[in-house]
């Protein structure tokens, strides 16, 4: 019973929850400003330097949010979108943070587009149900770690996220999975604080209902 309770930790309290949307590996700011100025003045070939600098950062944001076979496509869209909107970048925030907002919104648009075209969602297989059973019977930390590393874990999470609306998915990913505050999530999505707060609560509740449903289904 104690080992069961050990898992009942609020995930907001977990260390290392928060993922930075600014890229700490970028030490220089002034040359970047100069680079941006030159691109805006028409030296578009310099944009390739900017892509090279921020590609890893954008990929790190996009990777967990879209299917693995669509990562390149979405990263590409992020940079094209950033170029088109370069005139709106005010330099009041770091460039990588501004780019992170575009990446988040591009991923959200990706799921909105899929929902609009009614792409069928995957269903849980026998292996997934077996994985759920194994997870529920986990007793040690080593077993728990093994369970998180399987492909089934990623697929079950993907299945659960696919059941949510694109809006709830975007908020749940930012607030509950990445560990951002409601305020930060609102800034990245460009939504109001109240909207994000309400959606975060509803989305978490929807996820918990889904998990309750599948854990009960697997147990029975």
């Amino acid at each position: 019973m104690m080992s069961h309770l050990a898992f009942a930790i609020d995930m907001q309290a977990l260390p290392g929850c928060h993922r930075s949307m600014t890229d700490d590996s970028l030490p220089v700011v002034k040359p970047e400003r100069e680079l941006l100025r030159r691109i805006r003045q028409g030296e578009i070939e310099r944009y390739a330097d900017l892509i090279d600098q921020h590609q890893r950062h954008v990929t790190r944001i996009v990777r967990p949010r879209v299917p693995s076979d669509r990562i390149s496509e979405v990263v590409h869209d992020v940079f094209v979108r950033a170029y088109v909107n370069l005139g709106q970048f005010s330099e009041s925030v770091p460039f990588d943070h501004w780019l992170a907002g575009i990446a988040i919104r591009t991923c959200y648009d990706f799921w909105r587009d899929r929902a609009r075209h009614a792409v069928p969602v995957s269903s849980l297989t026998e292996e997934h149900h077996r994985w759920i059973e194994q997870t529920l019977s986990v007793q040690s930390d080593a077993q728990f770690r093994r369970q998180t590393e399987t492909r089934d874990a990623a697929e079950v999470l993907e299945w659960a996220l696919q059941q949510l609306s694109p809006e709830n998915r975007a908020v749940l990913t930012l607030v509950h999975l990445d560990g951002y505050s409601v305020r930060e999530a609102a800034q990245l999505l460009g939504w109001t604080l109240v909207n994000v707060k309400v959606r975060a609560h509803r989305a978490r509740q929807a996820l918990r209902n889904l998990l309750q449903h599948i854990s009960f289904g697997s147990a029975s």
């Binding site: 967990p64 590409h76 170029y83 997870t135």
Partner: protein
């Protein structure tokens, strides 16, 4: 029973979150520079090689606001002037009306 279900849900939730985070920290490289630059060049040609400067939005809005204020002032002055001019003939008409007509003699 309910407590048991809650613990199960927590356990599943925690496992899925950890799985998500381990996936996020994986580092497979993506290189889209070539494709993006191809599209950027195409966009640039479509826009005639002109990229809107950063302050353009602000400039447009400020100019529009000032132009609107000037138009409003000019309109108010014009209306005022027109009224002043139209008062003249009205007074003349009053003079004519006060003068006796031929038939009134």
């Amino acid at each position: 029973m309910n407590q048991h279900t809650d613990i199960d849900v927590h356990k599943l939730e925690r496992t899925l979150i950890d799985s998500y985070r381990s996936r996020s920290s994986a580092s497979d490289e993506v290189d889209v520079t070539e494709q993006v630059m191809r599209d950027v060049r195409r966009l640039d040609i479509e826009r005639g090689g002109w990229t809107p400067p950063a302050m353009l939005d602000q400039l447009i809005w400020r100019t529009a606001t000032r132009a609107a204020a000037v138009v409003l002032i000019v309109a108010m002055l014009t209306v005022g002037l027109f009224r002043a001019q139209s008062d003249g003939p009205a007074l003349m008409a009053e003079d004519f009306e006060s003068a006796p007509l031929f038939g009134d003699w």
